[in-house]
Amino acid sequence: MDITSIIIILFGSTFGLILRMFIQNNLKINVGLNIQNTSIVNLIASFLLGILVSVNFSKNNSLLLFYTSFLGCFSTFSSFIYQLFVLFQKKKFVRLFFHYLEVILLSFICFYLGYYLMKIIK
């Protein structure tokens, strides 16, 4: 790993972390669904991932680092599992099932939205 890669990783992870914490702490929106701020962060990350995939990021080193550093620190899988774990602990299995489906479905919708949006622009 060269110095440029390390700088990109440090910059990307710092920006991803700050943006996630800002959204998690400050965003207050109510869209009628049981969507929390952590899920909003993950949906935005899915949208950005869709854009990256459509530009074929795996062939570009800088974009690959952007994916691993920025998106890796911006999105959070452990908090998503924690949300499900809390519902599991409270024995709210139906809510757990629907929350889980909701997040996965919306993530893929956001992903393909970003993907096709970028394809149209290109």
């Binding site: 990783i9 440090l10 992870s13 710092t14 991803g16 972390l17 996630r20 914490m21 998690q24 993950n42 990350a45 899915s46 950005l48 991932l49 995939v53 994916y67 691993t68 550093s69 998106l71 890796g72 620190c73 911006f74 999105s75 959070t76 899988f77 452990s78 908090s79 998503f80 599992i81 924690y82 499900l84 774990f85 599991f88 889980y100 996965i104 993530s107 893929f108 992903f111």
Partner: protein, 109 residues
């Protein structure tokens, strides 16, 4: 004090990112993350320690986008059954692992 805590969050975030890159396997990373996340949430920690460990380290260590990208690659193969089995098993495995971490932590303390 507050600034020092924010610096700690950024530093653990860097450590988590490099550790994730070193392991370079989303499934292993998510399982390790869920296990230790479970251990931490079972303990009573202060607000800032929670922010540093959970928000700084584990959130940067595990990656939702990596999970979605992994599922996208399976979906691209056109195998729907494999896709459904994979995403359900990953979620169930992670919830179960977090529960194990939580349970171990409760038993120890």
């Amino acid at each position: 004090m507050k600034i020092t805590n924010y610096i700690y969050i950024i530093l653990v975030c860097y450590a988590a990112t490099f550790l994730r890159l070193l392991i370079n396997n989303n499934l292993i990373v998510s399982i390790i993350g869920s296990l230790f996340f479970g251990v931490v949430i079972a303990k009573k920690v202060t607000y800032w320690k929670e922010k540093i460990i959970l928000g700084g380290f584990f959130s940067c260590f595990t990656s939702f986008s990596g999970f979605i990208y992994f599922l996208y690659k399976i979906l691209n193969q056109g195998d729907w059954i494999k896709f459904i089995i994979f995403f359900n098993s990953i979620i169930i495995l992670n919830i179960f692992t977090m529960y194990i971490g939580f349970w171990i932590s409760r038993k120890i303390t």
